[in-house]
Symmetry: C2
Subunit: 345 residues, 2 copies
C-alpha cells in the first residue's frame, strides 16, 4: 500500500524513533552534535531534515565537532531518490520539532548512571507495540536517532548478557569511557552483566534509553501482526533486535548498516548480528574519493551510521540507484548547509 511511484524495493513506511537521554551530556561520549548544548537538538533536527529536506525549527544542522554533517543528510538524499514514506515517533525529544511527530507522551531518558534510566519503559513498549500492530501495511523499517545511543546500547547488551560491542560516531571509539559509564550505570542499578537475560524491559528501565523502548515495542507489534520489519542501522538497532529476542520474538528480523560500521573493528557488527539471529546487509555509499564536506568525514571514520542511513543505502542498492547518491548528497548538503550556516558555527 505504498504511495505511488516510490521506486524499487522499499518498505511501505520507515519509522524513525527520535529521542534523547541525559547520558549524552557526558563530555566526550557522542559526536552527534557540535557540543552538548546543541546535541539535545540533534534528533529534532534529524527529523526535520528527512521530512522537509532542510532544518525548520532546529537552530542548526547537526554536525560533529569537526564539521561532519548528520547522517540525516544521507538518508534524506536517498529519500529524494527513492520516495519512501517516512514517519517520526517522538521517543523522548526535549525540543518540539518543526517536523511532524507521533506523540505518545514519551519523556527524555535519565542519565544511565542513575538508578533508573527509563521509568516508563514498560508503558512505552506497550504503547508503540499497539501502534505498529494496527498499521495497515505489509512491510516497515525502523530507525533511530539518539545522541549517546551507542553507550546506552552497550549498557543494555551487557545487562542482557550479550556481546558488549558497539560502534561510535567518533573516529576513535571512546570504548574505555563508555565501559566506565556503563559500569557506573550497572552499579547504580545494582545489575551484573547478564542479570537482565530474558527481561528486556528491566534492562531498558535500568540502563537503557527511551528510543530502545519505542523501537522494541514497534518490532514486537509489527511481528505480532505479521508485518515484515527491517532495522535500518548498526549496533544500536542490533541491540533493539537483541531486546526483541529476549522478549521471546522469534520472527525473522534483519538489519542494514553502512560499510563504516562494518569496518569498525571495535564494533564486531557481524558477530553481534549473528548472536541475535539477524540477517545483516552492509552497503558502501560510494563516498571514497569524494573530496566534499558532506562525505569526507564519513571516509575519515566519523558519524558512520544513524537516522536510517544503512538501510537507506541498502534500499538504494536494491533499486539500482546507489550510484546517484553522492551527487544527491551534495544537493542536500548545499541546501541544508548554505555558507552563512557554516559560518555561524
Amino acid at each position: 500500500m505504498a504511495i505511488a511511484d516510490s521506486a524499487g524495493d522499499t518498505p511501505d513506511l520507515v519509522i524513525l524513533g527520535a529521542g534523547t537521554t541525559q547520558t549524552a551530556a557526558i563530555e566526550g561520549i557522542s559526536a552527534a552534535g557540535a557540543d552538548p548544548a546543541l546535541r539535545v537538538h540533534t534528533p529534532s533536527a534529524d527529523a526535520e531534515i528527512v521530512t522537509y529536506g532542510d532544518v525548520a525549527d532546529a537552530p542548526t544542522v547537526p554536525v560533529s565537532p569537526s564539521g561532519c554533517p548528520t547522517p540525516a543528510v544521507v538518508t534524506r538524499a536517498a529519500r529524494e531518490l527513492l520516495g519512501f514514506e517516512w514517519v517520526t515517533v517522538d521517543a523522548g525529544l526535549t525540543h518540539t520539532a518543526g517536523a511532524p511527530t507521533v506523540d505518545f507522551g514519551i519523556d527524555q531518558g535519565q542519565d544511565i548512571r542513575k538508578a533508573v534510566a527509563v521509568p516508563e519503559a514498560q508503558a512505552i513498549v506497550d504503547r508503540t507495540r499497539t501502534y505498529t500492530r494496527e498499521l495497515s501495511v505489509d512491510r516497515i523499517a525502523v530507525a533511530e536517532t539518539i545522541p549517546a545511543g551507542t553507550t546506552t546500547a552497550l549498557a543494555v547488551l551487557e545487562a542482557l548478557g550479550e556481546r558488549p560491542v558497539v560502534s561510535s560516531s567518533l573516529p576513535d571509539n571512546p570504548m574505555e569511557q563508555k565501559r566506565a559509564v556503563v559500569e557506573q550505570a550497572r552499579t547504580a542499578s545494582d545489575i551484573d552483566a547478564g542479570d537482565c537475560s530474558g527481561s528486556p524491559i528491566e534492562a531498558i528501565h535500568a540502563v537503557g534509553d527511551p528510543v530502545q523502548a519505542a523501537v522494541l515495542g514497534m518490532l514486537l507489534g509489527a511481528t505480532d501482526a505479521g508485518i515484515d520489519v527491517e532495522c535500518w542501522g548498526g549496533t544500536q538497532v542490533l541491540t533493539m533486535i537483541a531486546l526483541a529476542r529476549h522478549a521471546g520474538c522469534s520472527a525473522e528480523l534483519s538489519a542494514a548498516t553502512t560499510s563504516y560500521v562494518a569496518g569498525d573493528d571495535s564494533a564486531a557488527v557481524h558477530a553481534l548480528a549473528s548472536d541475535v539471529d539477524a540477517a545483516l546487509t552492509v552497503t558502501d555509499p560510494g563516498f571514497a574519493g569524494r573530496d566534499h564536506p558532506a562525505m569526507a568525514g564519513y571516509e575519515a571514520g566519523e558519524a558512520k551510521e544513524g537516522v536510517g542511513m544503512g538501510g537507506a543505502l541498502a534500499a538504494l542498492d536494491r533499486a539500482d540507484k546507489l550510484s546517484a547518491l553522492p551527487d544527491q548528497v551534495t544537493t542536500v548538503y548545499d541546501r541544508v548547509c548554505p555558507p552563512e550556516v557554516i559560518d555561524g558555527h
Copy 2:
C-alpha cells in the same frame, strides 16, 4: 525539491491544519462525524487516513450520520496516485493522533457563542507564519479539517464585512441555524458585521477557530518568503484567504474546490473567490453513476469538500490521472471501512 517521482504538477508539500472547536458540539451544525462524541475525533482520524491510508489510533473512520465517509478517503486516494508530500499541523486537536503532527501547542477553540473564541489567535498566527516562512520549498498547498468550520467561517466573514456565504457538509445547508449561532457569537463578542474589517486577528479571536489562525499564519509566512501557495478547499479556505487580504496580503492566492461546493447554491463560492481576489479551480471527481458507498453520498450532496479534497482533485486533473480516482477511492474505502468497522456503527 519534491521527493522523487511525485507525479505531475503538484506542490512540494501539502500542509493540513487539523483542529477542533467546541462550536461543533452544537447539535445539527456539522456532519463531520456520525455524532458529536465521535466528531471530536474526526480531524485526528482524517490526518491518520491521509498519512497511513487507514485509521490508526482513531476509534473509527469518520462518516456522516448517513454513512458518507470523510473526504480524507478521497484525498488519500489522490495521494496514492500522485505521491505528494503531506504534513499535518496540530491546530487544536483534542485527541492525540496516531498520525505525526507538528506541535505548536495550539488549543481547541472555544464555542464561538462565548466572548472569546480563540484566546491565542495572535500567537498562533505568529508561530505558523514563522513555520512556513522558513520552509525550503518553492510551492505549498494548505488545507483544513475542523468540524463546524463552515459556521466559524461564516462568523468570520460577517465580522470582516465580507459576503456571508458558506457551504455545508450536510445536503441541506442549515444556514438559518448557522446564522443564529453567528448572531449569538457576535452579540457575545460585541461585534457588528464589518467591525473587524482590516483586523483579521480580532475576527478570529472573537468568533473564529484555531485552524483559521494556523492557516492564516501559514499563508502569510509563505507569501512573505515568496513561496507559491494554493489553498485546497472551498468556502473555509476562501475565508482564510479573506483573512489574509484583511491582513494586507496582496500576493497571488488561489483556491481549488470540488464541483459539489461549486454546485451548492447556498455557498456562492465563485462570488466569494472573486471578492477576495482568489483564482478558483473547480474539479468534478467523476463519481456520477458510481453506486458505491464511498461515492454515492457525495453525489447526494453530503460532505462535499474538506481535508484538501478539491485541491487533490485539481492536482489529479493536471497530472491527467483524474479518471483513475474512482477505482482508487474504492481501494482506499475497502481498506479503511472493512465490514466489521461499518457494522460497529
